[in-house]
Point group: C2
Chain length 155, copies 2
DNA sequence: ACGGACTGGTTGCAAACTGCAACCGCCGGG
DNA sequence: CCCGGCGGTTGCAGTTTGCAACCAGTCCGT
């Protein structure tokens, strides 16, 4: 229990997401992707060929629509994702990774390899894992090409 | 507002951290490291040569001691960190990365490279970045050796 | 032996964030 | 004209986070 009944001033809350706690690179991604959902959105964009709000919402992990809307907006604000109208359906929007987002590919592959090694429940196909070990560069090129073509390719 | 004043049963909360939302490798690390602090603890262990509770607490980002205690306990529970008494000081404890924790090195290096490329404020030394690009394997070997020696080496 | 400082935490409270489910305006198709 | 899909928003409850005070055990100097 705080000792004094008249508690002194407390620091105002930090809604200021532009103010980082430090200039450490690890801290930067902890602040950008450090929550339970953001990485899953990136995964859906990068490996599952998803582009529309409803597709993300339909993910196995069942993200709530308000959380999804918030994460997409944040990712857009920090330049990892871009939103544009779908030319085929005027009522739809298309979400896509920017180059900054695509540059996360190596991180995502290392994450996949680590989980596959250390989590027995992880269900990544064997050929994908051997490709990460044996031919990282070639695999990445193929994945990025598939990304441009809008196909589902990932683990 | 919910329409019916008698709201139906809601699903009980999930304190059950052993139950994953899916078997996706990305989801696994999102659930394990998906918060604003865990990665910073890993960083301190991996690159800054920190070993004691007080050293982590003294990090630039100013983690609260209850959050730190919780994160260390979680990391220990999932086998990324190990705790043992410090032979030199009976009142101290030493926290160390297990092999599972050390295997995160490639992920951390890719994260560092990505931040350095896309965040202007990131202050990683140039030589470290070129080493990541030019000689990943050699750099990793050196870093792991330094880890065993308990030195500070990182970005 | 004693006091003070350091160790690794725990506790109480308030503020913030997350999750759920209901709801809503817009568009397109039949 | 209605009906469903689309991309959200809103209200509430439950959970997590942050802060600061506090604490027991150990170490150190005197």
């Amino acid at each position: 229990m705080p000792r004094s009944p008249d508690r002194p001033k407390r620091r105002p809350p930090r809604h200021d997401s532009a103010q980082l706690r430090s200039n450490c690179p690890i801290n930067f991604v902890a602040e950008t992707f450090g929550d339970k959902w953001t990485l899953l959105v990136i995964r859906d964009l990068m490996f599952k060929g998803k582009r529309h709000f409803g597709e993300f919402r339909a993910s196995e992990e069942a993200i709530a629509s308000n959380i999804l809307a918030d994460r997409l907006q944040r990712l857009e604000a920090c330049g990892v994702v871009e939103k544009r109208p779908d030319p085929a359906h005027r009522s739809k929007l298309i979400y896509e990774l920017t180059q900054k987002g695509r540059d996360l590919m190596p991180v995502m592959l290392e994450i996949t390899a680590w989980s596959a090694k250390h989590d027995a429940r992880t269900n990544t196909p064997k050929p994908f894992l051997t490709a990460i070990k044996r031919d990282r560069e070639g695999l990445m090129k193929g994945l990025l090409a598939a990304l441009d073509a809008g196909q589902k390719v990932g683990p």
